[in-house]
């Protein structure tokens, strides 16, 4: 529906990397697709949708986020079973995508179960369905194209690896280009048909060039030394498995074909490495600076660390031009293995990755995304109708139907298995008042938050910060699982003023209560970092009485908590310990206020209580 009104590929301003990566995939599907990651509003999905017009025989099948298993893999056809009494396989999207492109917009939001199916099928190249009395298999080879905004979370490494290439989308930064983007968009919207017509000549040229590249591709091969170079690059990047070499070689071939060359040169391989490596490179331990663990140096260390790893500074040089030939950049002779090193010659930076598997818990409530069906263990009120019908369909010939087309019995009932992103919510409540070392404390908390979020991809954990200082509590970082967002929001930290502890705690109660409404399955933890010396009252005239009252309220709400006591000095008052007693929380006296001290204590608490 409406394919004919998509915004044309060649009318997109800039985004040369994405265009090139997509075109290379059209020329050589063996590359295996591309993951486009980047800020919102950068024509990511516009470009993918426009692809179908560039190579008319390529199918682009889109997977909506709400897809259920049966439509992805295919299954028993209900209609054939009931009406004709035969078992027939109804094909799913994996069948439709065979030989074409499978596209997922917002791919980082796809349900874990669907991701697992995609992983299995794409590594086997075959979709095997064994269920509901159906046994069917068919070839399912496709290039996987995904687009995502990393602010909403990352992909797990095994899934990342299935995307041949990786490119970064960024908005244009100069005024002229930005103006052109707007001009074209407005023109398109005022009359899509005329606009498409206007760019048809350019599209036709592009189509032709792709067509001839496809023809040329068959003749283009890598030399032995070039294969060795690919292997070297993959090894130096510590990429797992052999997919990296294969992708490098296939991409280099496609790039040579695109530039109408008869053989691959090192420039092609270089370009391939720029796209094929970022999401596959593993940590190089000797290159990774040990983060410093104390005081002010800690925060800046974390900052630097991030700046180095952030995908945002990936391919910065704009020297890859869709129309130009890139032969200019490298002149080493073919046949002789060039001495290139990825660290110096490729300027490739590793992606910031979580390591483990992202956890999407199955939820028992009726909320969450329906991904598949199962035989209910006990009585259910969340019936999966489609699965129930498929189960019943098999027996219709032998059943009394009472005038209906289908008779359903108790034994046919299937229930929905729903999936929901769950995890732990950790809310920091931090003393940012003027007492000594508050800036250091804030930086340490920031470091801890970034470290926790870094791992949040595997556990779906979410972190937030409330700071209290001067007049009251303020949400510094709303509960989030986004590293990018945290980085943005925590760029500036302010400290100083008095200590309104009670206000901070009550603010936290409020935030966690609303959070509970949104996400009832998540476990909540509150981490109070303070010496407990409140001096701004909230309700009465006694600041400490008020904070005690707030602490008790936390306890009655049943919020798990931990107090990290930062009290220092010759005379110890033990106010924080007292609060911990009232909150019913774990109490830890911090030896040093540092990122690692905070994170390790929190991890310990979560591990014990999980």
């Amino acid at each position: 529906m409406m394919n004919d009104s998509f915004y044309p590929f060649s009318a997109v301003v800039g985004q040369e990397d994405i265009k090139l990566a997509l075109v290379l995939n059209l020329i050589n599907p063996a590359i295996g697709g591309v993951l486009i990651s980047g800020e919102k509003g950068t024509a990511k999905s516009t470009l993918v949708r426009a692809l179908s017009r560039l190579k008319p025989d390529t199918r682009v099948v889109s997977i909506p986020l709400g897809i259920t298993e049966d439509r992805l893999t295919g299954g028993l056809s209900i209609e054939s079973a009931i009406k004709k009494g035969i078992r027939e396989f109804e094909k799913g999207l994996l069948y439709a995508a065979d030989g074409g492109i499978l596209y997922i917009d917002e791919v980082n939001l796809l349900s874990a179960h669907i991701v697992n199916i995609l992983l299995t099928v794409s590594s086997m190249g075959e979709n095997i369905v064994e269920r509901e009395g159906i046994s069917f298999s068919h070839s399912s080879r496709f290039a996987l194209i995904g687009s995502m905004n990393p602010e909403e979370g990352q992909l797990k490494p095994s899934f990342l690896d299935k995307f041949g290439l990786y490119v970064e989308a960024k908005g244009e930064k100069n005024t002229e280009d930005r103006a052109e983007v707007v001009r074209r968009r407005i023109e398109y919207e005022s009359s899509p048909r005329d606009f498409i017509e206007k760019y048809e000549a350019e599209e036709a040229l592009l189509r032709k060039r792709i067509e001839s590249a496809v023809r040329a591709l068959g003749e283009i091969r890598l030399s032995e030394p070039q294969y060795a170079l690919c292997a070297d690059i993959a090894r130096e990047g510590r990429c797992a498995g052999h997919r990296c070499e294969i992708v490098l070689a296939e991409t280099a071939r496609a790039h040579a074909a695109w530039n109408l060359k008869s053989s691959v040169d090192d420039g092609d391989i270089k370009l391939a490495a720029r796209f094929a490596l970022p999401h596959r490179m593993r940590a190089l331990p000797e290159l990774r600076p040990e983060p410093e663990e104390s005081g002010a140096a800690d925060a800046s260390g974390a900052d630097q660390n991030n700046a180095q790893d952030t995908p945002a500074d990936l391919p910065e040089n704009g020297d890859i031009d869709l129309n130009g030939d890139s032969g200019k950049e490298d002149t080493s002779e073919i046949g002789e293995k060039p001495n290139l090193s990825i660290s110096s010659d490729f300027r490739i930076k590793k992606l910031l990755l979580g390591s483990g598997k992202r956890n999407k818990a199955k939820t028992s409530s009726r909320s969450g995304r329906y991904v598949k069906a199962r035989i209910p263990v006990k009585k259910t009120n969340d019936i999966a109708l489609d699965a129930t019908l498929r189960a019943a369909a098999l027996y219709q010939r032998s059943r009394e139907r009472d005038g209906n087309a289908i008779a359903v019995r108790q034994s046919d009932i299937r229930e929905k298995v729903r999936e929901k992103r769950t995890g732990v919510t950790i809310l920091f409540v931090v003393d940012a008042s003027g007492s000594m070392g508050s800036m250091r404390r804030m930086r340490a908390v920031k470091g801890a938050v970034m470290a926790l979020l870094d791992e949040a991809y595997q556990k779906r954990d979410r972190v937030g910060i409330i700071a209290f200082r001067d007049k009251g509590g303020e949400t510094l970082l709303n509960i989030t699982r986004s590293v990018d967002l945290a980085e943005k929001e925590l760029r500036v930290l302010s400290t100083g003023g008095k200590t309104p502890l009670a206000a901070g705690l009550l603010h936290a109660c409020q935030l966690l209560t609303t959070e509970k409404l949104k996400d009832p399955d998540a476990l909540q933890y509150l981490v109070l970092i303070s010496d407990g010396k409140a001096n701004v009252p909230l309700m009465s005239s006694d600041a400490r009485k008020d904070s005690s009252a707030a602490a008790e309220r936390l306890r009655t709400l049943g919020i798990q908590s931990m107090v990290l006591d930062t009290e220092k000095g010759f005379i110890e008052y033990g106010f924080a310990k007292e609060l911990a007693g009232l909150m019913g929380s774990t109490y830890v006296k911090l030896d040093a206020i540092s990122k690692s001290e905070i994170t390790s204590n929190i991890k310990e608490m979560i591990k014990i209580q999980r």
């Binding site: 409406m2 999905s45 103006a179 407005i186 302010s494």
Partner: protein, 344 residues
Amino acid sequence: MEKKTAYPFCAIVGQEEMKRALILNMINPLLGGVLIRGEKGTAKSTAVRALADVLPERAEVEGCRYACDPSDDSFWCDECREAAIPKKELFRRMRVVNLPVSATEDRVVGTIDIEHAIKHGEKRFEPGILAEANRNILYVDEINLLEDHLVDVLLDSAAMGVNSIEREGISYTHPSRFILVGTMNPEEGDLRPQLLDRFGLVVNIQAEDDIGRRIEVVKRRLAYEDDPEAFARLYSGEQKMLGERIEDAKRRLRSVTYSEDALKLIAKISVSLDVDGHRADITMLKTALTNAAFRGAQSVGREDIAAAARLALPHRMRKRPFDESALDLFDIEKMIEKSDFYDE
């Protein structure tokens, strides 16, 4: 059930920014909707519900489940495409379709028709809220409390204007182009960045400060509760005029022009704010064009850009903690003032 006469849009006291944002979206549905941020009891939902009554009736294909526009075949649903012509037309007002926060996914995107399946052994698609919302207003109260997976499907449709269903044995696609209007109380948490960016415009509203106006709010409300119909009659003239003005602006929108200067100014604003992507620029120009059409101008002027910046930028500026973002908007206004922009 007898439907109670809605509170008239024109009787809402103050809240000019919100009213402006809603009206601009009615004129130009491609603006991308409005997010209304504010405290409870600030006429947010009253305004949205009242809005639909302002516009005159418009044509729909009779019997079409997606209220397809008989005169625009580029967004017809499959049934309308396949149906034999001529199509019968039906005249109805635009509707406000509610998406409650507690809705289940199958009700939102649509699902398999149970009754039909059991009686006839055939799969049939039972449309959901996204179907109903086509060519209408999709209203989500407390949108920041919407569950993640519902936000995801909403994102899919809002981006494409199409709802694709691949679930529960059903494979179906239908148009779902709606004006998304969301309300939220920022104290109850933020929106996910991706969804926030989908909203073309954002308004922050507060209760009236002025005592005189506060009294007026209460007076009108009481008068309305007392006799809704009589109250509505008081405003019927004004309502009709507004409706005609919107219709007129709709017709003229396509002929409103903008200068190179206007375009450059918009790009400059975005560059100076370091916004993500290009949606801010595009929305600003569209909003400025629409605003010009609404005030009856031939081309985009300084005031249109100022209005557009106020509505399209607040949620796209990178927020700094302990920092008043109002200051930035003030800077922008100065920038617009100072620009060497030729005003007709």
